[in-house]
Symmetry: C2
């Protein structure tokens, strides 16, 4: 992993730091102190500073860490600088939005397959020579193109079945945008994004602020 000789316990804490930083970023925070991270993570500030000092000087005294910079550094440390291929299952509005999301290509994610079960969509070309394929070709295509990430943007009732099919084809991780939770085996990674949760959280904050 990047030629560093990092204790395993530190690597595990780095993943927790990364997710913590991600949450700060999602909440609009661009700077964070080791103390703020410590509060969220139940890890001593001194431990956090020590772990991060393995990799050089990130933080500035009294200013804290730049959240994005620190996330990028952790990505570098842990060998994230490779390319990832993904596919999208379900080409409705959300699927199309993700297919065209500008931040993904920059972040080294390459779209390698798009699937739908609607015959009127199959065969339509998207960008970069990609053509909407029948979902019947899902497993075959995942294997042939060595796709490691599958994005679920189908109606909720199909989520588990299509997740199972991607798992059986050897997918490494799934991002589930449907409101329905899916279950995957332990070796498959899962991110779930329920758009309505962000609405509820915001309403909750407004309510308390009134």
């Amino acid at each position: 992993m990047g030629g560093y000789n990092i204790p395993k316990a530190t690597i595990h804490r780095l993943t927790r730091y990364y997710r913590c930083l991600e949450r700060f970023l999602l909440n609009g925070k661009s700077n964070v102190s080791s103390k703020e991270m410590a509060n969220k993570l139940n890890i001593k500030p001194s431990q956090i500073r020590k772990d991060l000092s393995y990799f050089g000087e990130f933080g500035k005294r009294g200013v804290g860490y730049d959240v994005r910079e620190l996330m990028l550094s952790i990505e570098n440390i842990l060998g994230m600088k490779k390319n990832w291929s993904f596919c999208i299952v379900g080409i409705g509005n959300l699927g199309l939005a993700i297919a065209n999301y500008p931040g993904l290509t920059k972040a080294r994610f390459k779209l390698k397959g798009v699937f739908d079960n609607d015959k009127s969509k199959i065969g339509i070309g998207l960008h970069d020579d990609l053509v909407i394929q029948s979902v019947n070709e899902l497993e075959k295509t995942i294997k042939e193109r060595k796709i490691s990430i599958g994005v679920l943007t189908v109606p909720g009732k199909y989520a588990q079945k299509l997740s199972d099919r991607m798992v059986s084809a050897g997918i490494d991780g799934i991002i589930n945008f449907t409101p329905v939770r899916v279950i995957v085996p332990k070796q498959v990674m899962l991110e779930e994004i329920d758009i309505s949760i962000s609405f509820r959280t915001l309403a909750f904050q407004i309510n308390l602020n009134l």
Copy 2:
């Protein structure tokens, strides 16, 4: 707030519990113990159990709390059972996906305005008598229809300007789906959802799992 006489400190902890539960849910966890919550929040498990016992018996010994049930209970306690009106600024694929997201209406969020600056889109009807309006009518419509939540699904370069305009029209909260961070005054609540972050987090987990 719901007729309960809850200490303010408890209310503030409840909001933290709610956000913590939301994160568990996003990570696909449907049951959680007070100890797991305590680890994330740096609050004693006994304090968490005491706070939640104000409102009756939520948890089951040895099983923990049902995450969704507990979130709904907290929503009830804090008077979340009201309707919210929102508008969408930018009717591209993502804007359309949110306009048609099935979980929102169920969660009492009513779409009351849709805006774009593309003349070929203005005047097109969506569901429920909604018609795509020119973004020139943004402030006027927010005031007239008492819209409290604004959803930003525009190209990133327009995000801050349109956020400012919604703030000046008296919006209570903004959900920013653009990859660009926006700054809002303290009295305005903000949720930011960067879709590429979920991809990076997943890749990170896969990387560490390989």
